[in-house]
């Protein structure tokens, strides 16, 4: 019997994070999150809504759950906005996704997914990365990577592959899109600053 706690938690958190805040106070936001959790159990054709979502996005990586949990806590006002390195989290997981998925699905002769079955080299790399991120006080990334590794040791997912704990396509896609948006925003700001200084110079 497959444990579906992850599917229900993912369902509630994904929709909670997609929905706007509606100007609700903390109490109502908690109620909304709980309501979404309850909705995830509604059966449709013999399967719950959470199971339908799971059928399309599969079981998410532990890093995604931590990331979404952090996002929910922020939305609920229980955590302050990240002070350090939010962009480095995006870069880290976007890079992981870009290394892993195209190659594994056949666009390269190499199969990086195999590294997850004999994970010692990958563990050393992730350990060094985690130490470095902790040194840089990027605590969100540290919790994500440490949480994934702890779950891997405990075997909380049916997969024996370390990659399945570290990254999933949804997280990869989110990070890539967020980075693109950040880049676009930065380019736009630079262009407006440049235009402003040119105008000032011409006067």
């Amino acid at each position: 019997m497959i444990s579906l706690w992850q599917a229900h938690a993912s369902f509630a958190m994904i929709i909670f994070l997609i929905l706007p805040s509606f100007g609700l106070n903390r109490g109502w936001r908690i109620a909304l999150l709980l309501a979404l959790l309850a909705i995830s159990f509604i059966p449709l054709g013999g399967l719950s809504l959470a199971v339908y979502l799971r059928s399309h996005i599969d079981d998410l990586a532990i890093t995604s759950l931590v990331f979404m949990g952090w996002g929910c806590l922020r939305r609920l006002g229980m955590l302050p906005p990240a002070q350090h390195g939010q962009t480095s989290v995006l870069i880290l997981f976007a890079a992981m996704a870009l290394v892993l998925y195209p190659a594994t699905m056949g666009l390269s002769d190499l199969d990086p997914y195999r590294l997850g079955y004999s994970p010692r080299p990958l563990l050393i790399f992730v350990a060094l990365l985690t130490f470095g991120l902790f040194y840089l006080r990027n605590y969100l990334a540290v919790v994500m990577l440490a949480g994934a590794t702890l779950a891997f040791v405990l075997g909380t997912k049916p997969s024996h592959n370390y990659w399945d704990y570290l990254v999933d396509p949804l997280l990869g896609l989110y990070c890539c899109l967020a980075l693109l948006m950040l880049a676009a925003r930065r380019v736009y700001r630079r262009l407006t600053t440049l235009r402003g200084s040119m105008r000032n110079g011409s006067i």
Partner: protein, 432 residues
């Protein structure tokens, strides 16, 4: 310059992280890889004359459904178990994985049983399932019977995942299906079609293939309990599917590949010298391949028997070839089934009915003979399209049972699963 030491809590975190990663490192050594297991069939006693045997009959008995993608395994009591998928059409929601048993005393196949449905797979895997396909059955050396089959939750066959069921009592009772985790991308794009290869330590080598961004083959390495512990690329790119693997000895093996490209239309092969861990670059062989599945088995004298559609286009002829281990010398042994038209051109429904009536009598076996009238009344779009009615003999699956008999099952016009049996004496006779 002053060196700044971390605070005590920070040191504690470093220590905890070090313990965590050290624990992960210690508990996850690289999986071992053992040699191919060699099954030694009983060979004929010298100086005894063994009669050549070549028989055929239908393994399936349904008359309405589209049937396809069969597989067979030998059981210790001498019986056989075959599986295939059946439904209103390929990819329909009503497709089921069905099985039947071959009774060695009567020489006939029994009633069809339902092994897995969309609903049963959905309930056990806790995922929405759109369709099922490609079952594969095999008895492991530890006498556990394994069933692998494909299911799709979204999209076409490229969205497939592999499900597994296991039986400890030769197919009387089965475990609930569970999905193998074979791909990091939503666990899609892994399909199974060909016979698994067992290794000395009980681990299972499952030939699989991808159909999403690329079309390539892999060798999935499962523990004796059916957990995916490693995998190895057999081919790359976008032109090879459905590897059929034959172990030649403990280390050497050959993978025959269905060609899915657009240039030479020939069967591809790849070799391993380390029990499936690395594979040579696939190379084209002599026989043609019209992008269709093929099957192979080794003979005791280190030759290879290959069942395939040796055609550039269409699947209207299924042939049995023999080749040496180097795969340079190919010889046609027998056409297992073929269309009366040498080009495989379609026939009018009326002409087709007359021909297939004769074909039916030649293929069905005694038990299924009374089904002839019903069968002819049920001919429909499984074989007849707008341009006419065609013959299709495809998707062979080959085994050599412990008693030394060769068993081949394949789709017979997508209306029946046909089972052909022969022995070494028949083979020797054909090789003269």
């Amino acid at each position: 310059m002053r060196i700044k030491f971390p605070s005590l809590p920070a040191l504690g975190v470093y220590l905890a992280l070090a313990c965590l990663f050290a624990g992960a490192w210690l508990t996850h050594p690289a999986p071992g890889h053992s040699s191919f297991a060699r099954i030694s069939p009983v060979s004929a006693v010298p100086d005894t004359v063994v009669k050549p045997i070549y028989t055929s009959r239908f393994a399936s008995s349904g008359l309405v459904d589209f049937v396809h993608s069969s597989a067979v395994t030998a059981l210790p009591d001498g019986s056989l178990m075959a599986v295939w998928f059946a439904g209103s059409r390929e990819g329909a929601a009503d497709v089921q994985v069905r099985s039947a048993r071959f009774d060695v005393s009567t020489g006939e196949w029994g009633q069809e049983q339902v092994m897995a449905t969309r609903e049963s797979t959905q309930q056990s895997t806790r995922k929405y399932i759109r369709k099922l396909g490609n079952p594969v059955i095999a008895l492991a050396p530890d006498n556990r019977l394994w069933l692998f089959y494909v299911s799709v939750s979204m999209g076409g066959w490229a969205g497939s995942a592999v499900n597994v069921m296991v039986s400890d009592d030769f197919g009387e009772h089965w475990s609930a299906p569970r999905q193998l985790i074979t791909s990091p991308f939503l666990n899609i794009s892994t399909l199974v079609r060909s016979a698994p290869v067992f290794h000395v330590d009980g681990s299972i080598g499952l030939p699989v293939y991808h159909e999403f961004l690329g079309k390539f083959a892999e060798y999935l390495y499962l523990s004796a309990d059916g957990e995916v512990i490693d995998k190895f690329r057999i081919s790359h790119g976008k032109n090879s599917l459905q590897p059929a693997i034959v172990a030649l000895d403990g280390q050497r093996g050959i993978a025959f590949l269905r060609y899915a490209g657009t240039t030479h239309h020939r069967v591809l092969a790849s070799r391993t010298e380390d029990a499936g861990q690395t594979w040579s670059e696939p190379f084209p062989l002599v026989p043609s391949n019209p992008n269709s599945s093929l099957a192979a088995v080794a003979t005791p004298d280190q030759r290879l028997l290959v069942a395939l559609n040796d055609l550039q286009e269409g699947r209207f002829k299924l042939s049995l070839y023999v080749t040496d281990a180097k795969m340079t010398d190919w010889r046609l042994l027998h056409d297992l089934d073929k269309s009366p038209d040498p080009e495989g051109d379609p026939f009018s429904p009326l002409a087709y009915k007359e021909i297939i009536k004769i074909e039916f009598r030649g293929s069905s076996g005694k038990l299924r003979e009374p089904l002839e009238a019903q069968f002819l009344a049920n001919l429909d779009n499984r074989v007849c399209k707008n341009r006419g009615c065609e013959f299709e003999y495809e998707y062979p699956y080959f085994i050599r049972s412990p008693d030394g008999m060769y068993h081949l099952v394949y789709s017979w016009n997508n209306t029946f699963i046909k089972h052909v049996t022969f022995n070494d004496a028949w083979l020797s006779e054909r090789l003269k």
